[in-house]
């Protein structure tokens, strides 16, 4: 264990109010510094989101905190237990639901839950009762006798989360909990996460969906290229990027390049385009300057379908922080 990274010498005693306290976490795969010196303090009882694009290092960071990967440098305490010297105690206080269902596909849902209950130490009868209780709570009672390979994506995700709650964990790790789910199943998982947090479970989740972080998390850490580039509440992150964003929607999408050039010339800074291609957002600073920019567009004969002023969306915050969109278009599905 290399403890030379900055800030690595901290005392666990002072971190009792924290569910997770990590300093200088590093993970290297060959040439790639997948996680490159991340500090993280997660207070107890909150939903904390790690937000970043594919390959930013979110999953690797989470796997280290869940004892599934050994850090190459840095140190961390999870629920007061040192990650490296007391991994067994950490495992007793956490549960993790990975990005890909960690269930036995050949077994039934009920058998999966009984298996895990037995591994936790419940006796046969108690394990069956706990499995039935969880199946009922997750609306899977009818599907309990079916093999997991016959489950839908949403059912799998619910069973996977149920499998993490056999013993109520201090910290629940959720790696991209809604990736690949349809909007309805996604809403449902969000409600489950909120309800778990309300019952006192600390939840650390990774996501590449900005609205997910915005909707759920009390605090958000933005990660890119293995480094933490910003952290705060969603409101703080938006405020740091600055208010006074100008959004315009063009009547004619064909003139978007021309409009973007005009706005850039008038307002400076980078203009962000919507994926659909007819909307532009740019930091205007003041209503005065926004007004001038709009006048320039109209003078050039570019017709507007709509415009508005407002605080930036998390998408725009991400764009401002990383200089790139949060997720490339068409790349929303699961990547392995």
């Amino acid at each position: 264990m290399n403890l030379t990274s900055p800030g690595a010498t901290f005392t666990h005693a002072a971190q009792d109010a924290l569910a997770i306290s990590a300093r200088g976490m590093v993970k290297i795969f060959g040439e790639l510094r997948a996680v490159d010196g991340i500090d993280l303090d997660v207070p107890r009882g909150v939903i904390f989101a790690i937000l970043g694009p594919n390959g930013a290092g979110k999953t690797t960071l989470m796997r280290m905190l869940a004892t599934l990967a050994t850090p190459d440098a840095g140190s961390a305490a999870v629920m007061g237990h040192d990650l490296v010297t007391e991994p067994h105690a950490v495992r007793g206080a956490i549960a993790m639901t990975g990005q890909f269902a960690s269930l036995d596909e050949d077994l039934t849902g009920r058998e999966n839950l009984i298996l895990l209950s037995r591994l936790w130490g419940f006796r046969r009868r108690q394990a069956k009762d706990r499995a039935d209780e969880l199946l009922a709570a997750f609306d899977l009672a009818d599907a309990g006798g079916k093999q997991v390979k016959d489950y839908s994506g949403g059912m799998r995700r619910r069973l996977d989360i149920a499998a993490s709650l056999i013993v109520t964990p201090g910290v629940l790790f959720l790696d991209e909990p809604t990736t690949g789910l349809d909007p309805k199943a996604r809403q449902s998982v969000w409600r489950m996460i909120r309800s778990l947090a309300a019952s006192g479970v600390t939840i650390l989740l990774t996501t590449q969906y900005l609205d997910e972080a915005d909707q759920l998390a009390a605090r958000i850490a933005v990660i890119d290229h293995g480094r933490k580039i910003a952290e705060g509440t969603s409101r703080e992150l938006k405020a740091a990027t600055g208010s006074g964003f100008l959004h315009v929607a063009l009547a004619d999408a064909a003139r978007i390049d021309e409009a973007a050039r005009l706005l850039e010339a008038k307002l400076g800074g980078s203009v962000q385009r919507s994926v659909e291609g007819a909307e532009l957002s740019v930091m205007a600073g003041s209503p005065q300057r926004a007004n001038e920019a709009l006048a320039a567009l109209i003078a050039a004969g570019i017709e507007l379908a709509d415009f508005s002023m407002g605080s930036p969306s998390l998408d725009e915050v991400f764009f401002a922080l990383t200089g790139g969109p949060a997720q490339p278009a068409g790349q929303k599905e699961v990547e392995r």
Binding site: D104, D139, G200
Partner: protein
């Protein structure tokens, strides 16, 4: 997804029970292997089809030419085909492990506060069951075709105990392969590419007396030959302690060598 009752998650907090023993963890994984038999009985079909085909083909197509009569050949061949069955079976446990790993199931196990080798102990329990079932089926077919173990039931029990030891030792090879190779089909391809020459260049199918000297030199020390010789001896009732010791050498060496490697690879992942 329906109903708000689901989403409100009426869950009471549940504390951790008394931590279970390592042995209890291993038994639970063994139970998982048994459940697999219940849900995927086809896997047994895969395991016994090849040896059944080998038994029938070699006995009836080559048997007369090789040993004078099909009955004599079966008497020679059956203990060897049992070794081949168990050694080939071991590849499937490596495939099963690779499948589990590729699905993230082991991440779940590894994040639990359990004895870290218990998933492997459970795999072994499943393997032993598979070996016994597959071996039992092949022996039954042999008996129907006219095979007679001279040492009777005691000899058969001793031979099956040796088979389980062979399976246990060989299993480590493919568990290590399963931990190192990403895809289950690659485990199978690599496993059989290695096993085919080792199994054929042995005394399972023919007496090596007619082979060229260089090949015989290999066949005589091939662990598969040593295992087969001991199996024949046990079932015929004339095995020497030396033969049994030689048959057990490879499984013991593999276990001593590869169990620590398995643990290291598993922890490193």
């Amino acid at each position: 997804m329906n109903g708000t009752a689901t989403d409100a998650l009426m869950l009471r907090p549940v504390a951790r029970p008394e931590p279970p023993s390592a042995f209890s963890n291993a038994l639970v994984f063994g139970w998982r292997a048994v459940l697999k038999f219940k849900h995927v009985p086809e896997q047994l079909f895969d395991l016994v089809m090849t040896p059944i085909m080998f038994t029938l083909l070699f006995t009836f197509v080559f048997g007369g030419a090789l040993a004078g009569s099909t009955g004599d050949y079966l008497q020679f061949f059956l203990p060897g085909i049992l070794v081949q069955t168990i050694v080939f079976n071991a590849v499937y446990s490596g495939m099963g492990l690779s499948t589990d790993l590729s699905k993230g199931l082991f991440d779940r196990f590894r994040s639990l506060p359990i004895w870290s080798l218990s998933p492997f102990a459970g795999l072994m329990v499943g393997d032993v069951l598979r070996h016994l079932i597959a071996g039992g089926i092949i022996l039954t077919i042999g008996l129907i075709l006219g095979y007679r173990p001279e040492a009777g039931i005691v000899g058969v029990i001793a031979a099956f105990a040796l088979l389980v030891a062979i399976g246990f030792g060989t299993g480590w090879l493919f568990i290590v392969l399963g931990l190192m190779v990403r895809t289950p089909t690659t485990v199978m391809t690599l496993g059989f590419t290695f096993l085919f020459p080792v199994v054929f260049a042995s005394n399972i199918m023919v007496d090596p007396a007619t082979m060229p000297a260089w090949l015989r030199a290999f066949v005589d020390v091939n662990p598969v030959s040593l295992m087969t010789t001991a199996m024949r001896g046990l079932m015929a009732g004339n095995a020497t302690p030396g033969q049994i010791a030689l048959a057990l050498a490879a499984p013991i060496v593999l276990t001593l060598l590869l169990a620590p490697v398995t643990l290291w690879l598993y922890r490193r992942r």
